[in-house]
């Protein structure tokens, strides 16, 4: 299976860069968590993720503290080869629900 990971420049890269700069002392922790998320999603493991937007089908997964990564997964088959493409769409602050 072909595995591809992509990120959106505005929704993911900008906010993720901001988070990495603001929480610079926790940079390694955030990167480790992002690699864990990357591995799980590319393996097709959606454990720990939840529906983020039922209109778009986007899902989200906790990053650190109250920050979440919003993503979508697309699976396609071209020329008999299955491709799983994970799109990291956004980093958002999740509202605390009490």
């Amino acid at each position: 299976m072909k595995r591809l990971l992509s990120s959106d420049p505005e929704g993911f890269d900008g906010p993720c860069g901001e988070l990495l700069q603001r929480l610079y002392s926790r940079k390694q922790e955030i990167k480790t968590r992002l690699h864990q998320i990357e591995g799980n999603l590319l393996d097709g493991n959606l454990e720990g993720t939840k529906e983020h937007n039922r209109w778009t089908g986007n899902r989200c997964v906790p990053l650190v503290d109250d920050y979440v990564v919003v993503f979508s997964v697309e699976e396609s088959s071209e020329g008999g080869e299955l491709t799983r493409h994970v799109y990291l769409l956004a980093v958002e602050l999740e509202k605390k629900r009490h």
């Binding site: 505005e10 990357e38 986007n58 956004a90």
Partner: protein
């Protein structure tokens, strides 16, 4: 204040008036999205981490979905490549966005959503409910 003249200095730097900074609640380290229009206007808009389930988050996710459709994204073929990208954005002062951002306007988004809902309702009304089928 909604208008000011600012001077471009060495190393392409400008200083934003303090009133603008305070009225927008900006602080050092915040990102600003820069857009150059066809009429040579430069627009700067705060591009900070947004709260989920807000109109701004919805706008960003719509724009991201549009970027997926337009194939305007960065792709990494290995964890090492992704790692280098994270280091780059963690230390960057500039992140290049797709040249022609297809960010839909909120009005257009509402209109598109309304059309989708209406189409779904009409489709549902056309179908006979299962309980009435013979």
């Amino acid at each position: 204040m909604n208008r000011a003249l600012v001077r471009l200095r060495n190393r392409n730097q400008i200083t934003l008036p303090a009133e603008v900074i305070s009225s927008l609640g900006l602080e050092a380290g915040d990102w600003l999205k820069l857009t150059v229009s066809n009429s040579n206007c430069v627009q700067l808009r705060p591009a900070r981490i947004v709260t989920a389930d807000t109109p701004e988050a919805e706008r960003l996710e719509h724009a991201a979905a549009e970027n997926v459709r337009q194939k305007n994204y960065s792709t990494f073929r290995s964890p090492e490549e992704f790692d280098r990208h994270l280091d780059k954005i963690a230390n960057a002062d500039v992140i290049e966005l797709p040249a022609a951002s297809q960010t839909p306007e909120p009005v257009k988004m509402v209109s598109e959503l309304k059309q989708k809902v209406m189409a779904a309702v009409e489709a549902a009304l056309r179908d006979e409910p299962a309980s009435y089928s013979k």
